[in-house]
Amino acid sequence: MLTLHVLYDADCDLCCRVRAWLEAQPKYVDLAFTAAGSAEARGRFPLLDHQATLKEFTVVSSGGLVYRGAKAWLMCLWALREYRGWSLRLGSAELMPIARRVIAWASGNRFRFNRYSAWVGRG
């Protein structure tokens, strides 16, 4: 069975709420959550650049394939029953550049969103 290991920033309020939201969704593929840069993450992925995972959202499949940034988000959407169609639409050649820019902007500003993060799920 394929599992996607999600390395999220445990110090970021918004990221934790997004994690709670992802956990609550019905899935095609299991998602396992690990705090980025933690001892657990270093133990599980000994060859990964853990400094980079703190800067950029990262997903690693159980087969060892690494997805970063916008691709990592699309993989999370692809794992969800309700949003797989969206992951395919956003991953198309036309929309991928826009998705990449929006996600880069959002993750660069993620700490500024803390006060709005109550809108995203309940963590």
């Binding site: 290991h5 095609y28 133990g43 599980r44 992925f45 000994p46 060859l47 990964l48 690693v60 499949s61 159980s62 087969g63 060892g64 394939l65 690494v66 997805y67 970063r68 691709k71 699309l74 993989m75 692809w78 797989r84 169609g85 992951s87 395919l88 956003l90 991953g91 198309s92 991928m96």
Partner: protein, 133 residues
């Protein structure tokens, strides 16, 4: 028999006939869809198809029955035909709406089924070692 009773009987006959015709169309053509959705499992497809058609009959016949009463008297053949065309028109619109709703259900079921086998939209950036445990 006076005009109103004839109008009611005609209304029931026409509406029930139309319902049966639409249900048969749905039953025959929906089956192909469902067999594809359930990966060739014809038993399951027939069963779901039958359940959908039963629901379709219940809702439509229920609507036809509730809408029977005219609320005014019909004295001439002309009034009878006018009342009939109004009632049958309503039934046709409801049948049409129900039919499209069923098509929507079929396409939704089918999309769900095909999505479960779709590969990821993006390729990986790199490879790494994963230790289990």
């Amino acid at each position: 028999m006076n005009h109103i009773v004839i109008t009611y009987l005609l209304y029931l006959a026409i509406s029930a006939g139309l319902t049966a015709w639409v249900a048969q169309t749905l039953f025959k053509n929906g089956r192909v869809f469902l067999v594809d959705v359930f990966h060739g499992d014809e038993g399951l497809a027939d069963s779901v198809n039958h359940l959908l058609v039963v629901g379709f009959y219940l809702i439509n016949l229920g609507y036809i029955s509730l809408m029977l009463k005219l609320g005014y008297d019909v004295a001439t053949a002309r009034e009878s035909i006018e009342a009939l065309s109004w009632k049958v028109g309503l039934v046709l619109l409801v049948l049409g709406a129900m039919h499209f709703f069923n098509l929507y259900l079929f396409s939704r079921i089918r999309r769900r089924a095909t999505l479960s086998d779709v590969p990821p939209p993006v390729g990986p950036d790199a490879c790494t070692v994963v230790r289990e445990g």
